[in-house]
Subunit: 395 residues, 2 copies
């Protein structure tokens, strides 16, 4: 067997998202893709802004396709520093920006830069399942803190999770899987909790920053917690998930920051990213500086439709303020059992235990309005079936 | 200090290529870039084939920019399997191909898939310095075998390097830094050495495969060693180094191959690559299938010019059969001292000790003909200075 033991173990416990994906592929093969209501994947389906595609086409013939410095094109880093200074309300220079291969790549680069063997990385459940792999890739261990019943981080739980080996805390707002947007108080509270621990880095994973609804604002972690980095990408706000482009922005309060930035650049190089894909570096910077974004109103429309359907079905869910997820309370105690009931009606969702939060189910609404509308009767049938089985049996 | 101890250690021992890069930046700032002869970087300077840029422009508006399966677009994998079956003279299916983020990304994915803590990865010195980092990223250790005086792998040295913890052997032909192309006998010999060890994977890092001169052929490792993978990229043959695209092709003799492929796909996902950049997946497959390639004759012309200059200067070098490197015997015992002499004449090269091979110096000739021609008098002055100091002092 040529595969490492650890990877074999991972493969045997493959993620719930993956299992639902496979179940979905089976259902689609049998019933036709148009007859399956697939809410399992956070894969943005809106087209990228036309401006992004035009920029890309224009750049192809006039750009340098060779290697550039591992941190990215200097002009791109400068442009993004200007953009990000305004967005995060902190002064950033080009040197504070390191281009990365999507947020997934960026998180690995940051964790590679900071993690000693046995260090602990805190994530706040429910959380994106990949965080555990990312921590372990670099010799770390993931430690769970918890959200409160409002799906905002429970600061007391974070305080209890912090130990001498804590190296970083990952926060993610707008949140996958809950759709919650953390208010500023979460971060001022977290800064207080971290008070005398400059050896703990706050990593803000925020690829959904622009996907917020009802005028909600996303506070700046870089401003509220100076000892932090932002990791983000073009995946959701420009619908360029497959193109793998993002950036890391380093906050002004990081201890020996210049060494930290050098470590990010070295990590980019030695993990084999070498540099973020070059065409998309230029496209990304140009688009952000011009304010290009996908049409967020279309996600809002879907959210409103979907929450209406959930309301009609009598299902409860976390306040859906951002991203494109609905985190729905399972009407059965066992979220996997509920997902199985949904599958019988060809509805695909991911059990909450895949995010460290059993008893809930995640629906991704980055799918067509037709698919959301179409699932309503099927969802109603699932709920009626569950209610029918709950009724006391009388003869 | 927020940076991990290991990364701090790496940063203190930054690579020779990097040090020469910094020295070069300093010289260029002082003297102007046109007055510095920079042979330190293997950064392809030829333009990509026009066909590649046209394909890319055409695809932008009609492709799906979202996520695809972690292994890559199924049609791209199928197309490359057809191409690679012919190239490597072995039957390959789409499932045997995993798209990667350049060869650097691909090597990390392969090593992540196979390396247990403490496993040993053999590389044949002189070798690309990144291999050491790649092995350590995933808990492995690099073990050096050696080339013979002909700069071909010494099979006896490989045999001695193999132990119970050996997990993989990295081979690289056409070679960086020597420019040698390994003949088939090297691989048949290696297959014999490995005879009863299906737990050792041969990893053929071959991004320079198309860059060979004088009608030389690059044998197929996949055919000669069934328990092998090829990792390659568009960086050199299509001059798309910054765009980060390549593929991994898995040989037919790999033990439990399906699990190995699944491990490659999982590694692609959890290392944060997620998928190889999507536009370039399509461009790469289309270009390879149509036989697009940069103009290799232009590298040959530079090689011929440069070897002539080295001959005139009385310098010896490894047979320059492929890639765009000349590995030159240092006229001083100390290769770093020779590089320092070169720097005085504004010539930048990398000391051989950066590749585990002191006493030699690497010149990368992926630079303009003018730069190569221009360095001749400067190189001559360096050699005269060295000779003058060697003459016995007579009063």
């Amino acid at each position: 067997m040529i595969v490492s033991k650890k990877m074999l173990g991972y493969m045997e416990n493959s993620s719930w998202i993956r299992r639902m994906f496979e179940e979905g592929a089976r259902l689609k093969a049998v019933h036709g893709p148009e007859n399956v209501f697939d809410f399992s994947l956070g894969n943005p389906d809106l087209p990228p802004p036309q401006a992004a595609l035009e920029k890309a086409a224009g750049l192809l013939t006039c750009m340098n396709h060779g290697y550039m410095p591992n941190a990215g094109f200097p002009d791109v880093r400068e442009a993004l520093a200007g953009y990000a200074s305004e967005l995060y309300e902190v002064p950033l220079r080009g040197d504070d920006i390191v281009m990365c291969c999507g947020a997934g790549g960026g998180l690995n680069v940051v964790l590679k830069a900071v993690t000693n063997p046995g260090d602990e990385i805190i994530a706040v459940a429910p959380y994106f399942v990949e965080y555990g792999f990312y921590a372990e890739n670099h010799g770390g261990t993931l430690v769970e803190a918890k959200c409160g019943p409002d799906f905002l981080p429970d600061l007391q739980s974070i305080r209890s999770a912090i130990g001498p080996k804590t190296r970083a805390i990952i926060v993610n707002s707008p949140n996958n899987p809950t759709g919650r947007v953390y208010p500023a108080e979460v971060f001022t509270g977290l800064a207080e909790v971290l008070g005398d621990r400059p050896d703990i880095l706050v990593i803000s994973d925020e690829p959904y920053r622009k996907l917020v609804y009802d005028g909600r604002e996303v506070p700046s972690v870089l401003r509220l917690i100076p000892n932090s980095v932002v990791v983000t990408s073009a995946s959701k706000e420009l619908s360029l998930a497959g193109q793998r482009i993002g950036y890391i922005a380093a906050g002004g309060g990081i201890d020996e920051k210049q060494k930290f930035i050098s470590a990010l650049i070295l990590a980019t190089r030695i993990l084999g990213f070498v540099n973020a894909p070059s065409l998309m570096q230029k496209v990304y910077a140009a688009c952000l500086c011009e304010g290009a974004c996908i049409d967020v109103a279309r996600y809002k429309e879907r959210r409103d439709l979907f929450t209406g359907i959930l309301d009609d079905a009598g299902l409860e869910y976390a306040p859906p303020e951002g991203a494109f997820y609905l985190f729905v309370k399972s009407p059965l105690e066992d979220d996997v059992a509920f997902c199985s009931e949904l599958v019988k009606e060809k509805i695909l969702a991911v059990p909450g235990r895949g995010f460290g939060w059993p008893g809930y189910v995640r629906f991704a609404y980055c799918v067509s309005i037709e698919s959301i509308r179409g699932c309503a009767p099927a969802l109603m049938r699932v709920m009626e079936g569950i209610k029918a089985r709950r009724r006391p049996v009388t003869r």
